[in-house]
Symmetry: C2
Subunit: 480 residues, 2 copies
């Protein structure tokens, strides 16, 4: 076996770090003395390694300042980070078992890519957010938050933000005490914590079908079982069907999105909301309510929440600012009713605390006012864009295509002609730089194999129209 001298091994490792982009052209590398200490090799070894790298043109010494990484035009460094990786991306192609959460992450990552038409995105167009004002507040708060500490806003969270959230509910007709609220890292964390607070591994959780995938993931990850209850595209979960199932089966909890459900877009009628809560009371069954789209209504008044009908504290209401104000801050919350103490404790165990500065920036925004005006503008835009998206899908997609009629939010649920494989459509669209969300991710099984979800939050443009036309053509091909 050939022996590689120590100095050469050391040089090779350093060269690899430069190739990997860990050290970049122009950056200084450790001095001989420091490198010798840190890597526990002799000074001579380091000197010989540096000489070797210099002779190869990988580093250069500059008098009085030390060694620096040279520009390497001949071998362009690979990007510091892939946007989609081998594991992340089409893992589902190689396996018969679809890993839905991996597919979702892959879908999201394609949206990150420049030039992709983000029809598959679950998030609203960030251009609609009052980002400039929010950024001003965030900037000011960050600059003044010197010596801020994790202790500042331990669970339940920043007091002024709790108060502003409670005030906002009050304006919308729901009396909330700030102490009922626990701030979380987005609604994702809120849903996870609420589910863990009310159910145990092996328990059965009733969900809508189709349903928002993050709810399925939370159930699966905690070792619970999802029971999909028939869901009407206009009226939401079939409370009667749920009641029937409860006669023969133990159901530990129910998770629903009563307003502008993702992906169906319905708003449950008040009577159905109340009926669901009464059923829950009767069986003392907790209900997790995902309310992230509630602010994005097209009607005249803010829709009610299950929480409005909750007399026993059985409703665990989860929401966030990610769909209505900013998605980058990751600020959500739970109002867990009688489970508040458990959820606060789980929050502490899961992530200890939510970063302080984003909480304060949003609190400041809400204090300064203008949120309602911003929301009115967004709701108007979404209502118009819904009509555009429906119109063009029905025009460009083949006969047999059906589309939902969302009453709020910004996603359209599209049923393609029978036999069209939405996963194949997803792949072919992606090859054209267009993302769509395949029906596969909205159920535990592949029952929505010929459905897709489209995002209409982006300002309507020629490009959108062109993208829809292309997807329509692909659907036609696949419909054969």
């Amino acid at each position: 076996m050939a022996v590689t001298p120590l100095y050469k091994q050391f040089a090779d490792q350093l060269a690899a770090s430069i190739r990997d982009g860990v050290l970049r052209p122009g950056e200084r590398i450790a001095s001989v003395r420091i490198a010798s200490q840190q890597h526990k090799v002799s000074v001579t070894t380091v000197v010989r390694a540096y000489e070797l790298l210099e002779s190869r043109g990988i580093i250069e010494s500059q008098p009085q300042s030390g060694y620096f990484v040279r520009e390497q035009p001949e071998a362009p460094p690979k990007p510091a980070l892939r946007t989609t990786s081998r594991e992340d991306h089409p893992a589902w192609q190689e396996s018969t078992e679809v890993d839905v959460s991996r597919l979702v992450l892959a879908t999201l990552k394609t949206i990150q890519q420049d030039g992709t038409v983000p029809l598959g995105s679950p998030y609203p167009n960030p251009a609609l957010f009052p980002s400039h004002r929010l950024a001003q507040y965030a900037g000011r708060i960050a600059r003044h938050a010197s010596q801020s500490s994790v202790f500042d806003d331990l669970p339940p969270g920043h007091p002024e933000l709790l108060r502003q959230i409670a005030r906002r509910y009050l304006e919308n007709g729901l009396k909330v005490d700030p102490e009922e609220i626990v701030i979380t890292v987005g609604a994702t964390e809120a849903i996870n914590l609420c589910l863990q607070a009310v159910a145990r591994p092996g328990d059965t959780i009733a969900v809508e079908t189709p349903t928002f995938y993050a709810m399925l993931h939370a159930i699966e990850r905690l070792g619970m079982r999802a029971l999909e209850i028939p869901t009407d595209p206009q009226r939401g979960i079939d409370v009667g069907a749920l009641e029937e199932r409860m006669k023969t089966q133990a159901i530990a909890a129910c998770m629903v999105m009563p307003n502008f459900q993702n992906p169906l877009g319905f708003q449950m009628p008040d009577s159905e909301k109340e009926r669901l809560v009464r059923l829950a009371e009767q069986h003392q069954m907790p209900v997790i309510e995902n309310a992230v789209y509630s602010e994005l209504y097209y009607g005249n008044a803010h829709p009610s929440s299950l929480k409005n009908y909750d007399r026993d504290g059985l409703v665990l209401h989860c929401s966030s600012f990610s769909k209505s104000l900013t998605s980058a801050y990751r600020i959500g919350w739970a109002m867990p009713g009688r489970y508040r103490a458990q959820v606060e404790k789980l929050k502490f165990l899961n992530t200890l605390a939510t970063p302080t500065a984003p909480q304060r920036a949003i609190a400041e925004y809400l204090t300064q006012g203008g949120y309602e005006r911003h929301l009115r503008r967004v709701r108007r835009a979404f209502a118009q864009q819904r009509d555009m998206m429906r119109h063009f899908v029905l025009r460009f997609f083949p006969a047999g295509t059906q589309v939902s009629e969302p009453q709020g939010g910004y996603v359209l649920w599209v049923e393609l002609p029978q036999g069209v494989d939405a996963m194949e459509l997803y792949r072919r669209s992606l090859a054209l730089g267009i993302t769509v969300a395949p029906g596969r991710i909205f159920a535990a099984t592949n029952r929505y194999s010929h459905f897709i979800r489209l995002n209409y939050s982006y300002a309507w443009s020629k490009e959108t129209e062109q993208a829809l036309k292309l997807v329509g053509k692909l659907v036609e091909e696949l419909a054969g």
Copy 2:
């Protein structure tokens, strides 16, 4: 039964919201029209309710602008949020079953209170952080991050931060590819995700004893069992004892803090680190390494990590900036070796993404340089303060008291004379405005009933000395 008219019910609700501090003096309340829509009551009801509240002096109308909450000098509003609540605080006093995680949260919350001497804190003095520079970067980044979106830094995280972390490891003698890293909400999330990636409910996890409570909480929360392995105050976990146990018992994973363990402060010798990793290899047992204190060494060189000896990718290395740079940003990470794909996926399911702005601010700080200089200053301060704390504990506490000799970090482990009840000491100290961390929180059982942990990261002052003297007196009383 007396019937309360609708307008009076509505007025009472609004009055309660004002009393609770949800609406504050000087704030405008909803117009009659809006309130009528939102609360689904008639305009007449709202008008009569507002008149009633006006007659009671709770609100006032201002011409052309609407109704406002009046100052209410006679009934001072209660604080918007208690700092310690009934559920959070001395719940442990009322129960024989100690809820350790609740006790920890209660301890942390007492530290928040003004004037408390934070000897029980797990966090370093924030005055030592380069907060001003960090805040400048954060401010600049926040202002320029308009239209930032959750897509910007999906797991694994912000690319430049990943690169800077990898570079820092390289400087300390560990070759890391940025792609090995997953950014998390503090090390707390990293530990939770790593544990879930490698073990299942019911599994046994080997830990040090005493051990850092967050590790015990993660084990308990996931329905696993902690197996406490004897741990030497100077050399760390007894690898031989662990090996013995593995002969008779299935151990799914091991969780340790090899450098400056909380609470013991030891640095495992390199030979022991290597021995532990080889044992893990032999049994293909994953090892979760908590490295949050590794940067805070008092010796001449950065200590090695278990990761330095890891040939098979079995070490899941977790760390954060919370102990060395800023605790308020909540930025941590995992390098999960061969479990990277699972941890990235679990991160996505747990909190979707880590907020972007704090990641970018820290990346900018690391790019601009000065971290090592800051750390040198902190290490020097901690080494001096360790000596002060040891000196005064030995001077003020009764004979029979023993103290640890930390080689890094900023906490002292104190064994009180036998029979001293550290929980009672915790309570009595708190009554004097001094927190100490009771031994109870560092084990699954009460085996450290006469131990406390003290934080020496704060600049030494007369007040510290006075506090130690008082605690020493209490110990004397309790020693009877």
